[in-house]
Amino acid sequence: MTDASRTVLEMRHITKRFPGIVANDDVSFDLREGEVHALLGENGAGKSTLMNILYGLYHPDEGEIEISGKPVRLGTPSAAIDAGVGMVHQHFMLIPVMTVAENIVLGEEPTHAGAFLDLGEANDRVREISERFSLAVDPKARIEDITVGQQQRVEILKALYRNADILVLDEPTAVLTPQEAKELFEIIQGLTAQGKSIIFISHKLNEVTEVADRITVLRRGKKVETLPAEGATEESLARLMVGREVLLRVEKGPANPTDLLLEVENLHVFDDRGIEKVRGLSLDIRAGEIVGLAGIDGNGQTELIDAMTGLRGVAAGTVTVAGDDVTTASAYGHFNAGLGHIPEDRQRRGLVLEFSIAENIALHDYRQAPDSRFGWLYPRRLIERGARLIKEYDVRGGGAQTRAGGLSGGNQQKVVLAREIDRNPRVLIAAQPTRGLDVGAIEFVHRRLIEERDEGRGVLLVSLELEEILSLSDRILVIYEGEIVGEFSPDASEEELGIAMTGGGRGQEAAA
């Protein structure tokens, strides 16, 4: 750490309002040279908003910003870049069909003869910076062909190419394996040793305590406290983040798995590009248990779920639901065989937002009695069922004929749950069921899933949040590169799971 007392960035009394919400409420934040300063908070606490203001994507309603002592107006990303601010976004701002070098030099392209693109020069410059900061990448590779960890390095290089001294990393480990995250922390150390200052946005307590020098906690748009990382514990930070005692695990009784409800045998599935994503995968789910499927995004979960629910063709292998072979059945056939599916993206895949709640609930069954007969629809029956389920699942925000789009995220997810569960499926597949929901809604979903397990259904929980998997599952399967590489009990540690998720320790059955 170089000159620890020099302040390179000061954001004072920043306030930013959006319609209906104050995203940042009088937040003050400073950054010292060579430090790693973590910005901690729940979803919606205002971390990303604050950083977007720093990067010129938003304009604050009140407050000033000073960089190295000089007041600055950051009206556009260009202004921020000129002031030495670089941002590595959570969802990468990279163009898949272009090469690493093209992405890095975009906007400040080297030219020869003043008019023509000099890609040779670009490749050289990229190679030079990547060596200087030990961020190995191939300048000529296309983004869509490299790994997520490498893509993140390209994002960092983009900022370094533009001489950023202040680097903002927005939830950088969200898409990384535990190993890649460790590499990232090493990279961060290397960068600070060279004088760069880093703002690290996260909601993961363990990372923040490991990598940061100081931690600023935001809650509901306000700054709660800035404290040194030494001496901060996960519990104390959690309390600051949420404002109350947080139950990190959900309460549930033991499982009693009985009949085999879902059997997947030696499944082979290809994705749209013809790449085999599921390679001889087998799993089974019994009545009365929750099976968690852990894995890094992109290891075949999506294709597996698509194949299991009839949305994608199966190249080889079988899928059996309660004794019926549904391998070649349509999605509709799967639903009729007793499968329930809570899809990953409730707004894009789970609901037709312009339909009413009642119409959404009828999405699978509208072609059957009592909703319709011989093609003739009976809207009143849809409305009746909708009203009943709204009451049963305590859906707030409207009646059976209200547009689903007018509900909050949590209530929308309740509608999806209601629809799937009311049909009495034998097996329920829940993909990222609590993504983007607030704490109260998450609690509801978790409780409901456990209730369904206790009623004798089989639940497959596919999630990218290890915490959720660990707290809900009776059995944990790890998927890596299209195969099940390990089965664990819920007592397993995150490290064990992490190792399996990256393909290490294969063949070891780490049972209880």
Partner: protein
Amino acid sequence: MSDLETPPPADPSGLGPEVKQSLLGRYDVAQKAGGLLAPVLTAVLAFAVGGLVVLVTTGKNPLTTYRAIFDGAGFNWFFPWVTGDERSIAALNMQQTLILTTTLILTGLAVAFAFRCGLFNIGGTGQYIVGAVLAVWIGSSFQNTNSLLHIFLAAIAGAMCGALWAGIAGFLKATVGAHEVISTIMLNWIAVFVGVFLFGLGGPLQNDTQEFIPISNDVVEGAKLPVFWGDPLLQGLHVGFFVAIGALVVYWLILNRTTLGYGVKAVGFNPEAARYGGISVSTNYFLAMAISGAFAGLAGAIDILGWQFRLSTNDVSGLGGGGVAFVGIAVALLGRNTAVGVALAALLFGGLLTGTSTRNLDPEIFKPELASNLTLLIQGLVVMFVGADLIVLWLMARMRRRKPA
């Protein structure tokens, strides 16, 4: 933060459906929000701009021009103070307007139905032509058949052929994802050329008795639709009008009371969710286009059986430049793809087209050829305003200001 996501892959032609979904979604909100207000305002705005064009280019008072068009359309027939000769002229005009309205209702429904499924059917012209061709062929063959049966056959054949023609585009969309805008436009032109071929000199369906005129045979008396208002010899209003009204009812019923309509709407609003729900997106694309084409084909058939009675190559090639089927697009958009909306918009445009025709517009007030291009301009303005949602956005902003956030 959802707006930082990378976009999902689009269909092979790059003319993606995602944007149209939001358009349907915006309509939907507008329906509940503005109701009748938005379409009325859109129409008023379009006419206002049209009037401006009139003023600027010809120096004539747009209000007198519009008044002349109004009378020429026969709308003054509704005024009880109009009597005598003026009244009978108005009646005649109103019959003409309603004849056109019949066609526009059907072509408007065609476009509207496809829109409900998220598809843009610009192929009304081609579907209309094939419907007309079938109707004129069947209508001019089979002498001495039961009138009702004959008419029924011809109309159904026309509708089926229209469904088939649109079905080609629907099939391509459903199987390889070919964008329906380009495929239907190509099918339009192909239909035009096929029609010109069929009725051209030496063509297979050319008139049996007049070998130097490129025209079809006439529809036989028994297959002509009876006229119920006005004089058959002066092109009175025929019962096809009721077919159009019936079509409106059928449209509403399909969309709101059948499982087919549910599927079509679901796919139109959110094809992803529909797929995940177990609904076949490609089947619905095909069916929506086919039903859409059926409406347009029926329009062609009704026109032939109702007042045209024959097709010449000029008729066919004239349609290529944008005839009644083309206006259907503006009708559907202005009518916000609803049955009531389409009916009213069809009446408006029917009146506009009649009022600006050579027969009904006094050249002293405004040149009719200019006027027909004026109607094209107004259609374009309507489409533009609807597409840009200007009115809707303004209305929504006003509504938000009234309600607390």
